[in-house]
């Protein structure tokens, strides 16, 4: 009887240890590389007006600003936006903002004062990604709170409110990592 009780206790102890290990694995966060650096990367944020219709890479109403890097970034996003939002095929860049991402301070990405982002860095993630706490602001209120992990080359598209004949979409991406 004593032996069987000891064996059961041992099994339960093993189960408890396994639970502790899994909890530690879930709670584990990789230490930030270069903790002395204030900036942990750069964030690209854009406000895009998505409209139904024939696919086009540029808007009818405005040309992409800063044709060098900005247009390339936005133009590369357009096909992906079309696949993410199949109902829309025309995309017009309203504004964009490149911003360094700071570890200690909140970061405001303001492609437009109508819809903008507040981002807090939660440190780097595996694979070169960034863990963020992101808020989408509309005027003076928060309409979305999310905790994404942005990976290089994998942007985040946030479908916002409708406006006129289209839908406003916010694009968030790690700078310099778009395909």
């Amino acid at each position: 009887m004593l032996r069987s009780s000891m064996l059961r206790l041992g099994a339960l102890a093993l189960a408890l240890a396994a639970v502790c290990v899994s909890s530690a694995a879930l709670a584990q966060e990789s230490s930030a590389a270069g903790t002395n650096k204030e900036s942990e990367g750069r964030i690209y944020g854009a406000l895009v007006l998505s409209k139904p219709g024939e696919a086009s890479n540029t808007s009818d109403d405005s040309e992409p600003v800063n044709p060098g890097t900005d247009a390339t970034t936005f133009e590369k996003m357009v096909p992906r936006l079309g696949k993410a939002f199949p109902a829309f095929q025309k995309f017009e860049l309203l504004g964009e903002h490149r911003q360094s991402l700071f570890k200690q301070y909140e970061t405001w990405v303001v492609p437009s004062r109508d819809l903008f982002l507040k981002i807090d860095s939660k440190g780097p993630a595996e694979g070169g990604g960034m863990k963020l706490h992101l808020q989408v602001w509309r005027d003076d209120e928060v309409i979305l709170k999310t905790d994404p992990v942005l990976m290089p080359g994998r942007p985040l598209f946030i479908g916002g409110p409708n406006w006129r004949d289209g839908k406003l979409v916010i694009v968030v991406a790690l700078e310099g990592a778009t395909k």
Partner: protein, 229 residues
């Protein structure tokens, strides 16, 4: 004179009618008689208020548990006496579970099964790298929440777009007559006389720099006046 405790005990035995046969009731003084009458009155009152006999709930349950324990002890003794004997040793081995639990063997292997399952889960989670990656290679949404109760948040990963999508359904549309204006900003840290600052550069459609605003880290660019507190 008799011991007070013995006298009290005698009185109680007299009141309960528990004097041994052949033993006559002793003569009592007035104090003892008064005390005897008090004891008898109390006894009568208690007997009137309380039932004579109280049956335990589910008497059969207790009886069955006692029988199970006896059988288990006997089986254990037999098992210890002949360890090489085959046959079901499960009966009466270790389990004190209620009758509905079935053979005691369940409680022999269950802890091991739980331990093995927990180890498998721990190994799986450890291999996952400590994160609940919802999408392989894509952005991971740990949580998404819309404060407005009328807004529904839908999240998915688009393999074709290679992007994570969050769609807010139910948002109030912007009025059509409202001008949604965008801006092109580039922000970068600078070192000033008062330490680190952030320079926000506003550019026009042709790329020309229209305005540069320097603000402290964490401050919202304030090109259009106060944005948020």
């Amino acid at each position: 004179m008799s011991d007070p405790n013995e006298n009290e005990e005698l009185l109680h035995r007299l009141a309960d009618g528990e004097l041994e046969q052949g033993v006559s009731a002793p003569e009592l003084d007035e104090v003892s008689q008064a005390e005897l009458r008090s004891i008898e009155a109390l006894s009568s009152m208690l007997k009137a208020e309380l039932p004579k006999k109280v049956e335990p709930q589910y008497p059969d349950f207790f009886n069955s548990q006692i029988i199970r324990r006896i059988e288990r002890d006997e089986a254990r003794e037999l098992h210890e006496a002949s360890p090489a004997s085959s046959g079901s040793a499960a009966e009466g081995s270790g389990s004190t579970a209620p009758a509905a639990a079935g053979p005691g063997g369940f409680f022999r292997w269950f802890p091991w099964a739980a331990a093995a399952t927990a180890c498998a889960v721990a190994a799986f989670l450890a291999l996952q790298g400590g994160g609940s990656a919802a999408h392989s290679g894509g952005a991971v949404i740990a949580s998404a929440y819309a404060p407005a109760s009328t807004v529904q948040v839908k999240t998915w990963y688009s393999e074709e777009a290679e992007a994570t999508v969050i769609d807010l359904v139910g948002l109030e549309a912007f009025p059509a007559d409202r001008e949604i204006s965008g801006q092109t900003l580039a922000s970068y840290p600078v070192e000033g006389l008062r330490g680190s600052r952030i320079a926000h550069q506003l550019s026009g459609p042709d790329g020309e720099i229209l305005m540069t605003l320097v603000a402290a880290p964490g401050e919202a660019p304030d090109f259009f006046g106060a944005l948020v507190n």
